[in-house]
């Protein structure tokens, strides 16, 4: 990660990757990175290589699976898709995230009013 780009928490990136795969179906690394950048309207500039660490972690936990296929320009590329346990995990993590961000938001508001 270079300077000037917003740092992303490891778990957050994993969550985003999972969500992207759930929404978009099978994608290769480039596609996922691109998609996350687009969704965040280019606000999140990730060093695209870091996506692969996240992909390895998710594969190792069995939440996504990977298979070789052909890319848009007809090159060999690895396509990742979310697994059943990945979907379950995503649901749980998303709910967790909602709760925590809600709590943090409340705390911040209270602090502001202070």
């Amino acid at each position: 990660m270079g300077e000037g780009k917003s740092e992303i928490l490891q778990g957050t990136l994993d969550l985003m990757v999972l969500k992207t795969l759930e929404a978009m179906g099978p994608l290769h690394g480039y596609g996922i990175a691109r998609r996350i950048e687009q969704i965040s309207e280019e606000a999140l500039q990730i060093n695209q290589g870091t996506i692969y660490a996240s992909l390895v972690r998710l594969m190792q936990r069995g939440w996504i699976s990977g298979a070789w296929g052909a890319s848009e320009n007809n090159r060999k590329a690895k396509f990742y898709s979310i697994t059943k346990s990945g979907r379950k995990r995503l649901a749980a993590e998303a709910e967790n995230w909602e709760r925590i961000s809600g709590v943090i938001g409340r705390v911040l508001r209270i602090a502001e009013r202070g």
Binding site: N47, Y52, V56, M59, E72
Partner: protein
């Protein structure tokens, strides 16, 4: 948890197929880069620009692949494997260093592990009984006798009253050591066992492996013809016959039915029952009180063990017990009081051995510490040459932590190899240690190398590896590439800091060695003092044969007297025999038949009674044993059955101070005889051991009084020989066996052996301590030698220049010696302080020397100084003898 194992499995899979994983990832990255580039081109960049931007956006491919490898594989294991492989290469490259290191480590760790096995078996492993913390040994106290016998074993009728009256105990058991003759099969054999309450096994929480335990009614007289065998005895004597239950064996001529066999794991603390038994072969029930066991006060012969009821404290139990004891004293009406003490079973068993073992462990630990110091010094001396290598690695990107880890791997590997060899040594050594250990060391039969000992060895090896590796490793890992890579860096003088570290290590080593030498010196000096103690009898040329007359055929006094008379008569005519006699209990074999002796008219004031050891002897006993006559006369044949006694000099001085007792009357309570006449005074002998001061002794002629003691059932026949006593041993054995093959010879040995046996424990301890101290001295001298020779070698150029410039040989030698001896002197001073503190701890082991014995302290200081000076002088001389020009040309 599940996810974690999945990750590990995937990592292991990745690690195994790393080449393929790596290749696939490269392809994936390539595809990614291509897609990025194409997009950039679409955005209007030219191909070259687009590719550059894509690389920037993706990140460094090498770093990504590195990160991927670490994430997919097992990075920790991988570096470990690499480090271990590298360490192996380094160790193989320096074979001589490796061999020395492994050997010293093996000895150090092995010795520690062996001694720890002993400590583990004796002190650490809990007693293998159910809830051992609730078991207490009960001892009785007669305050009026407390001066001579502070604590008494238990008495059977008293115990029976406790059983009825005391509510604090869940169970109470009584046991007595017993030697019986096993006959019927081959030569009569003396076997060892215990006569114990039927509930003893139950109280200890043990049950037989075969058959049954004793029944309650087997404690009654007449029902006690049953035995339970120990596993060892069952295997050795009956070849582990599973059909043994129900078989009859003959003990002391009486048939006994075998009803059970104990498990191999059963251990009874033999030191509790008897100090002289090497093993326990069988248990038999109490069988009621014998005719001589009826008195409420007297025959304090049993070990009593009680199990406290849940929730009852020892103090509560004791106060209840003492109320019962007071009632017993009143009932006995013998003008004495009675009380008791409760002693926790475990300390009672191992207590006496604790200090000695802890001392040994400390000594052997100090030796290991010195091994570490020596190795650390060796490694430190090699550090400069490793610095170059470390500096290059550092320059190539290995951080200090990585370097530290690699260096430590090397020392850990050394320590583990040494530890493995050491543990093997210890495994072999423990047997030898147990065999040579004194038999009165408690729980010796439970010593083995178990899991805990192995754990100890592994942890110790790791600790040792860390200890000797950390200093050199941290030094090397902090190597400054700039400094180390300068041309000729090896010849620059070493930093002040490094030298100080090595000097202080030498100081520590010399200190430890000094302390150990002083403590060992005190013990050795004590041993010599003990050996020089005169036992009060002539040790040389005396043979002693102990016999135990079986009850069959020897129930009558006359039969016993006749047997001894016949043996003595036949022995007298044997060639090589000068004189013969017998005694109920040999000197140095401990106390026995302890009863009061007083002046006539004093027996109503029991406080004034003196307690003496009574011995029945034959007429020629004193001459044979070499016990000198002080005044009066010895017994002769006419004294048989007369009321005459011979007393020891010490007793005479206490009972008749300032006057001669010969011809006076006294009240000898052994045999309850009122007026006996003193006919002689003989020299004092050592009764218990060479170390214990002489006790008052009363000798009575055989057949003294009528029944008690009469001619005893157990006696030692002593023979004074003209030459080597062992030469007569064969004739003695055959004469006894010819007289009656059913009489077992319990022991047949020269008196020198009896003396030597009493020294066993002390000798064992002293030899081990001396051995450790000698190792320490060797290690310290090697350490000093190594450091000094390293120093002068490094400075050979400087010394060469000085020599050329005209510095005298003597002056330079003095310089080297001074520098080498400074840490030695400091260590010596420190060691003396440590020894002075430690000497107080071992004071109870000392005999004849004070804890601060100036001779020992000064002697050790002189030895250490001389050895260290020699260790300094040798390398100094070697270097200074060299041609200075040669040293300079070496540059």
């Amino acid at each position: 948890m599940w996810a974690w194992t999945k990750v590990l499995a995937s990592r292991i899979g990745g690690w195994l197929g790393m080449r393929r994983v790596d290749e696939e990832f490269r392809q994936e990255l390539d595809a990614h880069l291509e897609l990025l580039t194409e997009e950039n081109v679409r955005r209007g960049m030219n191909r070259e620009e687009a590719r550059r931007a894509a690389r920037l956006k993706l990140g460094g491919a090498t770093q990504l692949r590195e990160a991927n490898r670490e994430l997919r594989g097992l990075p920790l294991l991988e570096t470990l494997v690499r480090d271990v492989r590298f360490a192996f290469r380094m160790l193989r490259k320096n074979l001589s260093f490796t061999a020395i290191a492994v050997m010293t480590l093996a000895l150090g760790i092995g010795a520690n592990t062996a001694i720890f096995s002993l400590v583990n078996g004796v002190l650490l492993r809990p007693l293998s009984y159910r809830q051992p913390e609730r078991l207490y040994v009960i001892r009785e106290i007669v305050p009026q006798w407390a001066k001579s016998v502070p604590l008494l074993a238990a008495n059977l009728p008293d115990f029976q009253i406790w059983q009825k009256e005391c509510r604090s105990f869940e169970q109470l058991s009584l046991a007595e050591a017993l030697e019986v003759d096993l006959s019927g099969a081959g030569e009569a054999d003396e076997i060892y066992g215990m006569r114990a309450s039927a509930n003893l096994l139950d109280l200890l929480g043990q049950s037989p492996a075969l058959g049954r335990t004793f029944l309650a009614d087997e404690d009654q007289a007449g029902h006690d013809r049953v035995v339970i065998l120990t596993d060892g005895f069952w295997r050795s004597r009956f070849h582990g016959d599973p059909e043994i239950i129900g078989r009859t064996i003959t003990l002391d001529g009486e048939p006994h039915v075998v009803v059970g066999v104990l498990p191999a794991s059963f251990h009874f603390p033999k030191t509790i029952a008897s100090n002289t038994f090497e093993r326990i072969d069988f248990l038999k029930p109490l069988g009621g009180a014998r005719f001589y066991e009826q008195d409420l006060i007297g025959e304090f012969d049993f070990v009593a063990i009680g199990r406290l009821k849940e929730g009852v404290t020892a103090a509560q139990a004791l106060s209840e017990l003492n109320i019962v004891q007071a009632a017993i004293a009143k009932q006995a009406n013998e003008n004495v009081d009675l009380s008791a003490v409760l002693l926790p079973l475990e300390p009672e068993i191992v207590g006496p051995a604790r200090k000695g073992l802890v001392l040994l462990l400390a000594a052997v630990g100090a030796v290991l510490l010195m091994v570490c110091v020596n190795l650390a010094n060796l490694l430190l001396a090699r550090a400069p040459s490793r610095m170059r290598e470390a500096a290059i690695r550092n320059a190539l990107g290995a951080g200090p932590r990585r370097l530290l880890r690699q260096m430590l791997t090397e020392s850990f590997l050394l320590a583990l190899i040494g530890g493995a060899c050491g543990t093997t040594l210890a495994y072999l050594g423990v047997r030898a240690l147990v065999d040579s250990a004194p038999i009165d060391l408690p729980r010796l039969d439970e010593v083995s190398t178990d899991g805990r000992v192995l754990c100890f060895a592994v942890v110790l090896s790791g600790l040792v590896g860390c200890l000797f590796g950390i200093l050199p490793a941290s030094r090397v890992s902090r190597a400054d590439p700039q400094e180390a890579l300068k041309a000729g860096a090896t010849t620059t003088t070493e930093g002040q800091h490094a030298r100080q570290i090595r000097q202080s290590l030498i100081g520590v080593e010399v200190g430890l060695c000094t302390a150990l030498l002083i403590l060992a010196g005190l013990l050795v000096s004590s041993l010599f003092h003990v050996i020089r103690v005169s036992p009060g009898f002539g040790v040389e040329h005396v043979l002693a044969a102990s016999v135990d007359l079986p009850p069959q055929g020897y129930a009558q006094v006359d039969a016993r007297a006749h047997f001894y008379d016949r043996i003595l008569r036949e022995l007298q005519t044997t060639p090589g025999v000068e004189s013969v006699g017998w005694v109920t209990l040999l000197p140095l074999e401990g106390q026995g038949s302890v009863t009061g002796i007083s002046l006539p008219g004093a027996q109503d004031r029991p406080n004034e009674a003196l307690h003496a050891n009574y011995r029945a002897v034959s007429g020629d006993y004193f001459r044979t044993m070499g016990i000198p006559l002080v005044e009066g006369r010895f017994f002769n044949d006419n004294d048989r059955g007369k009321r005459v006694v011979i007393v020891s000099r010490g007793l005479a001085a206490r009972l008749w101070p300032g006057t001669s007792p010969v011809g006076r009357k006294c009240v000898a309570e052994w045999g309850q005889l009122r007026d006996s006449e003193v006919i002689g005074v003989v020299g004092d002998i050592r009764t218990i051991s060479l170390e214990a001061p002489p006790l008052p002794m009363v000798y009575v002629p055989d057949s003294y009084g009528q029944e008690t003691p009469g001619a005893p059932g157990f006696a030692s026949i002593v023979v004074r020989t003209a030459g080597d006593p062992d030469a007569v041993a064969g004739s003695v054995r055959s004469i006894i066996q010819n007289a009656d093959p059913n009489v077992p010879i319990v022991a047949l040995r020269p008196m020198t052996e009896v003396v030597s046996q009493t020294l066993e424990a002390r000798r064992f301890q002293t030899i081990l301590a001396g051995l450790f101290a000698a190792c320490a001295l060797l290690l310290a001298s090697l350490g000093v030698y190594g450091v000094v020779s390293y120093n002068v070698e490094r400075r050979s150029i400087e010394l060469g220049i000085r020599l050329v410039l005209g510095a005298g040989y003597g002056k330079l030698l003095g310089l080297i010696l001074r520098q080498g001896m400074v840490p030695v002197a400091l260590g010596l001073a420190g060691g003396i302080v440590v020894a002075a503190a430690g000497a107080r701890f071992i004071q109870t082991f000392l005999f004849g020397v004070g804890a601060f014995d100036p001779l020992t302290f000064a002697g050790v200081a002189a030895i250490v100084t001389a050895v260290a000076a020699a260790a300094c002088y040798l390398p100094a001389r070697r270097t200074l003898r060299l041609d200075p020009m040669a040293a300079l040309r070496y540059e």
